[in-house]
């Protein structure tokens, strides 16, 4: 099957800034693909390469098997939901949504109907007569989504579309986006720097750093088996055990990751690995307590259910975890 989007050794340099540096990826049709990474890691530039706003300095891009280099944005059946919405301020919401159909020459009545359907789909029926300035941030964001989806693109690019929303609306929109994607079967490429969002929504995730893909895999892969220290650090605060700590456990390796929730306190069965350390800090996070322990200079964070008794600060405790929950990383 041809990939929806294919990058072969794609680079985009601005002077001596390597915004995107030798990226290889292949996004399958109908996939929900997330690009995760810290600020400045090249996610937006990757998206702009797909949309056609940037041309690669090097490498090759294909969209559904067709070469994309040199093809202007208006000839790509790819639509973008911009980070700051980019709604046309002088047009009504209905005309904004119908814009893509209008420039393609769809008749007035037909595009009005399609735009109204799209607005209903994003739960904004009857808002067509307003201007973008009369909507809230969350509503504008839905309009931007409707404006892109009304064109039935082959690939939908979303650049941190939920960035401006409050937590509740954000979670609601995450679910809506996911179910929309399922029902429409459109390939979504979703940029975010929120690891929770990427993990909960995506079929596969590419973790970016400095213009390069650090790791590409399913959310479970990325979360449980981070391949580099960067991924372990960035995707949900995983503990990275140093080689000295690993030596104490009888393992010789450069580094290994250990999830905070995989560690138990006090219990020590024969088959579990154990470490002892001093409690440095404790914080209450609602459902869990976050306990920071110092084991001879190695900081380890434990996430313990709130129902468990909380150890005193300065107390000496024993940490126990299974060898299987520890993931040895290929590179430090």
């Amino acid at each position: 099957m041809t990939a929806a989007v294919l990058f072969q050794k794609v680079s985009r340099h601005f002077g001596n800034v390597r915004a995107v540096d030798g990226v290889d990826l292949s996004i399958a049709e109908g996939e929900f693909f997330a690009m995760l990474g810290p600020s400045g890691s090249g996610k937006t530039t990757c998206l702009r390469l797909m949309a056609g706003f940037e041309q690669p300095t090097d490498g090759h891009i294909e969209i559904f098997g067709e070469t994309a280099e040199g093809v202007p944005p208006y000839r790509r059946n790819v639509n973008t939901v911009f980070q700051d919405y980019a709604l046309f301020p002088h047009l009504s919401i209905l005309d904004n949504v119908a814009y893509g159909l209008m420039v393609k020459g769809v008749g007035r009545e037909e595009r009005r109907k399609a735009a109204e359907d799209a607005l209903a789909m994003v739960k904004l029926p009857g808002y067509g007569v307003r201007k973008p300035g009369q909507l809230s941030g969350g509503q504008r964001q839905r309009v931007a989504l409707a404006r892109a989806l009304v064109n039935r693109p082959k690939v939908l690019l979303l650049d941190e579309p939920l960035g401006a929303l409050d937590l509740k609306l954000r979670e609601q929109m995450q679910e809506e986006l996911k179910s929309l994607q399922k029902s429409l079967g459109i390939t979504f490429v979703f940029v975010t720097h929120d690891q929770g969002e990427a993990l909960s929504m995506a079929d596969r995730i590419a973790v970016f750093n400095n213009g390069k893909i650090q790791q590409l895999g399913t959310p479970e892969d990325i979360y449980k088996r981070p391949q580099t220290r960067f991924v372990a650090d960035f995707v949900g605060s995983s503990n990275v055990l140093s080689s000295a700590t690993l030596a104490k456990l009888g393992i010789s390796a450069g580094a290994a990751s250990l999830r905070p929730e995989a560690i138990q306190i006090g219990t020590s069965w024969a088959e579990l690995l154990t470490l002892s350390g001093t409690v440095v800090a404790c914080s209450f996070l609602g459902a869990v307590n976050r306990i920071t322990v110092d084991c001879d200079g190695q900081r380890i964070i434990i996430s313990a259910p709130a129902a468990m008794p909380v150890p005193e600060q300065g107390a000496n405790i024993t940490l126990a975890f299974s060898r299987n929950d520890m993931h040895v990383m290929e590179q430090a």
């Binding site: 949309a51 056609g52 706003f53 202007p72 944005p73 208006y74 790819v78 639509n79 973008t80 911009f82 700051d84 980019a86 709604l87 046309f88 301020p89 002088h90 814009y99 893509g100 209008m102 420039v103 393609k104 404006r147 892109a148 064109n151």
Partner: protein, 316 residues
């Protein structure tokens, strides 16, 4: 003494300036009155007052025998505007102003677009200098310079001769209305110089309005399938329209009122400005001069009303 204090409210400082600023802070209306009073008086009495006086003059008439002004309300002077000789002047001026405005907008847009979207740093400075520089030199000097440029022995004729394109100029000058003996005594010459002189007033407002169009709107249009022509028509032009209208108000009204350019460069047929000048000067017919000068005001009023009706200010 240390600058850090532990008091929560600082003591009042002495000095007249201090007390005054405290007083004004507590009575912001007084400050507003002081700031706005003089300009409002100026605007109300001297500016609008003289305009009103002008308007009144146009409702008087002149006694044909004595040449004295007859201070009785009459519309006779306005009726005089409609006699063919006078009406031609009005028509000529309005058509010229409209053409100058249209051509200025067409020439100014790409320049303004480049300046707003692409020019950065040094190039932006060069742009502003290039646009403003002509405004720094005397208006008369520029016009007389243009007279030389456009004259029969001038550089335009010379350059076209060298390029073996003189026949083109000759063909143009042979045309009925726009032609003439040479560019400097034809309507074409007047037109060119008007465009040159008013160009900054068109470029700057368009540039300012384009500057406020976020770049991602243009990308959004392309993303949704709009080709460059469609993006211009549906996004760029509507958003730049307030700037174009602002610029056209300048070029249109300045052309309507100017009396020097058509006098120095052009056929000897009169424009409104020249008619006003002649009526109030040599002819001594103040009411007719006043009536003539009311014409541009009325035309501009109509123009703005139409622009508003057509939605030119909707994007403001």
């Amino acid at each position: 003494m240390s600058a850090v204090t532990h008091q929560s409210i600082l003591p009042e400082r002495s000095g007249l300036a201090r007390r005054l600023s405290d007083f004004l802070w507590r009575h912001p209306h007084v400050l507003l009155l002081i700031l706005l009073g003089p300009p409002v008086l100026w605007l109300g009495i001297i500016y609008l007052g003289s305009l009103l006086a002008l308007l009144l003059q146009s409702f008087f008439s002149i006694d044909d025998f004595s040449g004295l002004i007859n201070y009785e309300f009459t519309l006779a002077t306005y009726k005089q505007l409609l006699i063919p000789a006078n009406f031609d002047i009005i028509l000529r001026t309005v058509v010229m102003a409209a053409l100058v405005t249209l051509a200025s907008a067409i020439i100014a847009f790409p320049i303004a677009y480049y300046a707003a979207r692409y020019a950065k740093g040094k190039w932006k400075a060069i742009f502003y200098l290039g646009v403003m520089l002509p405004l720094w030199s005397s208006y008369l000097v520029k016009i007389y310079a243009w007279k030389l440029i456009l004259a029969k022995e001038g550089i335009v004729t010379w350059a076209l001769t060298k390029l073996h394109l003189l026949w083109l100029l000759d063909a143009w000058l042979a045309l009925p209305v726009v032609g003439g003996n040479s560019l400097s005594i034809s309507y074409t010459g007047t037109f060119i110089v008007f465009i040159y002189v008013w160009m900054p007033f068109m470029i700057l407002p368009i540039q300012a309005s384009l500057e406020r169009v976020p770049g991602n709107l243009i990308e959004a249009s392309a993303d949704l399938g709009g080709n460059p022509a469609q993006t211009f028509k549906y996004v760029l032009f509507p958003l730049a329209l307030p700037g174009i209208v602002a610029g056209s108000i300048f070029t249109f009204s300045l052309t309507l009122g100017d009396y020097i350019i058509p006098q120095v460069i052009g056929s000897s047929r009169l424009f409104i400005g020249q008619a006003v000048y002649a009526q109030q000067g040599t002819a001594g017919n103040i009411p007719l001069a006043a009536a003539f000068s009311v014409v541009p005001i009325v035309i501009m009023g109509l123009y703005l009303w139409m622009a508003k009706r057509m939605g030119a200010f909707d994007a403001l």
